[in-house]
Amino acid sequence: MPPVASSPISLDVKADFPIFARRFDERLLVYLDSGSTSQKPQVVIDAVAEHLQSHNANVHRGVYALAQEADAAYDQARARVAAFTGAQPETTIFTKNVTEAINLVAYAWGRANVGPGEAVLITQAEHHANIVPWQVLCRERGATLRYLEVDERGELSLDQLDAELARGDVRLVAFTHVSNVLGTINPVAEMTARVRSAGAVSLIDGAQAVPHMSVDVEAIGADFYAWTGHKALGPTGIGVLHGGREILERMEPFLTGGDMIASVDFQSATWNELPSKFEAGTPMVAEAVGLGVAVDYLSDLGMDRVRAHEQALTAYMLDRLTEVPGLRVAGPPEAERRGGLASFTVEGIHPHDVAELAGRGGVCIRAGHHCAQPLMRCLGVSATARASVGVYNEPSDIDALIDALLAGRKVFGL
């Protein structure tokens, strides 16, 4: 066993999250669904409430003191979020979620830059949010959507990426940083370098990465990098799109209306500066404030500690899951090659029933296709169960999962 100091299997922060005071039929909450959404620390809940109670006014409109407070809070939130991922505030755009961020790129960049006979390249392991916008774009523009394959270990091949790029027709490559099903951590910096050398544009879905490991978007070098607040201890309704300054400057807006304009005439309008050009309408101010506090909370924990904790806990989970007969885990077998999640099937019990049975033991896990139906087809299943960890999880949560799975097998007479 490695020394405890290098495997911080508990960060001991559960008390910061008030939801863990809840009881379900007198049972403790065992939350292993952070891949779907994270729980929220008290400081985030308080920050949202405090903003609404004491600092609420519309932003970018008022000159009175309260409006200035709201402006300052929104700007400060953006600065905190940008600093958290090594990005610049002007190129950090707030969106509703990752889905909206990717649609922004597919519409505002894609419609102007992908044409007939050209191609968009994605991977078999994408979330529907990083598949469907490209399907619609390609259909509209007469372009082709091609896929990088995922091997039996759940990993992509850089050789296949090179071969696809060598065909010369690829305009954009979109891929996940960490797979929400397989857990695989993709070699994103190597991939973006190859995409750039081929003269194509890259987009990364960082939904499962940013909350769980140190992410420096400048070092990764993608043209677009999207992630979402609600998986990163923040509120729902606030997502982030980081983009390169030049490419964002060249793009036309996505949604149009208030706040994104410089001036409006009867027949035409000119666009506001970055990032406002891509933030039409009154933004999610309280949610942004909450996310700003959430990323500061994560920074205080230290993202390297967060990663070490989740890796240690994932290693423990992968090890203990082997105790359940008939259980198969998808994705890379080594915890260091994957994010903090494990998707699995249990022979003789449908994943929906696995999740239902776990729920009776007070254990919250997800079951279904995880918005990745093409990947499910590659794996030869219609669904899996998935347990995913966050900063608040401890080995006892994994123990409760294993107990629930073993008890569930008994219910099914296995």
Partner: protein
């Protein structure tokens, strides 16, 4: 004794009745449960205005498979007019277990696919 996973439910799940293909058939339909990606298809043969024979195919959870299996016993021999009138309560009552809101579609998928095959109405049973 488990409320949901009663012995007869698990028995139908493990050894579902009237599962397979039916060729030739008069009606067929295939439906998905968008929540989980489960898939259920049906082949129906008709004689004299009644379902003469019926077989389901596809994959799903214990609730969806057991529901299809249990319903198949009632549906065979039923008049088509009667089938098109069947509602969600009929299925839930027939199933005989407390079905939570999130599992309701699992229980109703078979009725959706059967009604869809016969009437062309692909709405979820209300």
């Amino acid at each position: 004794m488990d409320d949901l996973y009663r012995d007869y439910i698990l028995e139908h799940y493990k050894r579902p009745h009237n599962f397979g293909e039916l060729d030739p058939h008069d009606f067929a339909a295939l439906e998905h449960n968008p929540l989980c990606g489960d898939e259920l298809g049906v082949h129906i043969r008709v004689a004299g205005g009644r379902i003469e024979d019926l077989k389901f195919h596809g994959h799903g959870c214990a609730i969806s498979q057991a529901s299809a299996s249990i319903a198949s016993e009632e549906l065979i021999g039923m008049e088509l007019d009667e089938v098109s009138e069947l509602d969600a309560d009929w299925m839930i009552e027939l199933l005989g277990i407390p079905v939570s809101a999130t599992r309701r579609k699992c229980a109703l998928l078979n009725l959706k696919v059967v009604r869809g095959a016969i009437t062309g109405d692909h709405a979820w049973p209300a």
